[in-house]
């Protein structure tokens, strides 16, 4: 089998990442430069600051990746880049850079959908995983159940109609006074609380629907905190964290279980930032054991945004002949 080396570039939010991946499965080198510390003081990602940092960091991150495998741009077979969805200003930096790099190096440019990239993170960690399978992508921007018929044939079965799961985590965390990013803080504090302390709603939408809605749950938590404050009663942040988390995870587990039943799929692959949540991983493992599903969840590093997953998906896009032209533009909200 010949070796196809793809240089992946990801700048859709606040991680500046470049990776070199062989045949969609093997990471030859990768670098992720996170800006979490920079954005922390603002309580969330500031697009203008993220964009400025991407521009400054990209050449350094690229060089670090190429130097690690003692290679140069001339040994790269294609350039892959996230073109959406994401923060448009941030996307534009990676996209403009990738387009120019591919053009000057005279190699193909492959625009990759960010969600498809998240799914492909699983190919990097699980050599045995091949389509078809079910995928649950849960992050600060997305909550979707997808049927991966083939590497490039992916159907969305359900998605959030309002907030993404990670967004609900962040908003609840902010109200509880946890520092950004709030998801990992809730995960940590929930460990010390009771999941059945407060009865928050499990919003399932209509019978049989695979869509999600988390804004009602978020509001219920905020209302609870307000009413306790009005009554001058003390709250237990650990119990609020645990009860919120259990309510949210009950919905995620029920929906992915329903999707498995509907499609007859036994393989379930998770990804996205929220998939690094320790309780989510436990709950999914329990569900899989009970129902006989085969569960795939990459380690946290590959759940969050990274360029290796973009290069992994790009390999299969390239095999399918999906090469982008130089008109490729960044798209903030991009359907699958």
């Amino acid at each position: 089998m010949c070796s196809v080396k793809i240089l992946g570039i990801e700048t859709s939010c606040d991680e500046t990442s470049v990776a070199l991946v062989e045949n969609g499965r093997k990471i030859l080198a990768e670098k992720i430069s996170t800006q979490i510390e920079i954005h922390k003081q603002y309580g969330g990602v500031v697009p203008e600051i993220a964009s400025r940092n991407h521009l400054q960091l990209l050449p350094f991150v690229t060089q670090a990746v190429l130097a690690e495998v003692k290679t140069g741009v001339e040994d790269v077979d294609a350039v892959a880049v996230t073109y959406g969805p994401g923060l448009v200003g941030a996307l534009l930096v990676g996209l403009s850079y990738a387009k120019a790099l591919a053009y000057a190096a005279k190699i193909p440019l492959i625009g990759v959908h960010h969600i498809k990239g998240h799914i492909a993170a699983n190919y990097l960690r699980f050599p045995e995983l091949v389509p078809p399978f079910l995928s649950l992508v849960v992050s600060g921007g997305h909550t979707s159940i997808l049927l991966v018929n083939d590497y490039c044939d992916i159907v969305c079965l359900g998605k959030t109609i309002d907030d993404a799961a990670g967004e609900a985590y962040d908003k609840v965390a902010r109200t509880l006074g946890y520092e950004y990013p709030g998801g990992p803080m809730i995960d940590k504090f929930a460990r010390k609380g009771r999941g059945d302390a407060i009865d928050f709603p499990r919003i399932m939408l209509q019978e049989g629907s695979l869509d999600f809605s988390f804004s009602g749950l978020k509001s219920a938590v905020l209302n609870y905190l307000n009413s306790m404050k009005m009554k001058n009663e003390a709250i237990c942040p650990e119990d609020v964290s645990a009860s919120f988390q259990e309510a949210l995870l009950d919905v995620l587990c029920a929906k992915i279980d329903l999707a498995a039943q509907k499609t007859g799929q036994k393989k379930i692959a998770l990804s996205g930032g929220v998939a690094s949540n320790s309780r989510l991983r436990e709950r999914m493992a329990e569900l899989a054991a009970e129902k006989g599903y085969r569960l795939y969840i990459p380690e946290p590093k590959y759940c969050t945004d990274n360029a290796a997953m973009i290069a992994a998906q790009a390999y299969y896009e390239l095999m399918d002949g999906n090469i982008s032209d130089i008109y490729l533009n960044a798209v903030a909200s991009l359907p699958l």
Binding site: S51, P59, G89, L92, V93, S96, A100, I326
Partner: protein
Amino acid sequence: MKILAIDASTIAASAAVAEEKKLHGEIFTDYKLKHSEKLLIMVDSLLKNLRMDICEMDAFAVCNGPGSFTGLRIALATTKGFAMALNKPIITVSTLDCLAHSAFHFDQFICPILDAQRSQVYAALYKKRGNVLEKVIDEGAYDISSWINQLKEKTGNEKILFSGDATLKYFDRFAQGLPGSALVAEASIRMPKASYAAKIALEKAHRGEIQDAYTAMPNYIRLPQAEENFKEKER
């Protein structure tokens, strides 16, 4: 030295290829274009027209601001991509210098102004002395009224030629504040052009003012809004 220059500091975009004392070609557009889609196409069609390959370029020049933050990043990211792929240097050129040089032959004052929103302009003031353009007032983001006052102080009753994307937007105020002095640059030199960036870049290259993919960055002049607000709160 063969140089490819690009500009996307304003709503206009351009690409040019030049060598010492010779402009080989230029493409300029100022019409409802998205830079992210068009900039590379413009470079590609220019090179094809010239029967040149991007590998032949010895350096890349880019207007690095002030200007539209997004436009500057698209141009810089594109230049960095070229420079990384071909391991060639980058020469950055001030967008205001670029504009001033396009009015080089005007022998009174030259004042390029770029729209900085919030009733401000990015501006500088230039005047030709002998064979060089001298900066009379340094570039910065100025309130319109304070800029008019500074111009009054420095120019006496001499003519001032205004160019840049804020010219038409604010010209009435300049004409009013500087009666009899303010002139509008004609359309062909009112917006930044890569050909002038290339000319300046060649001069900078000879002076050794050269950067690369790692060091070339936009001159935003302003901090991000969020950072300004944060600093304001801390005060």
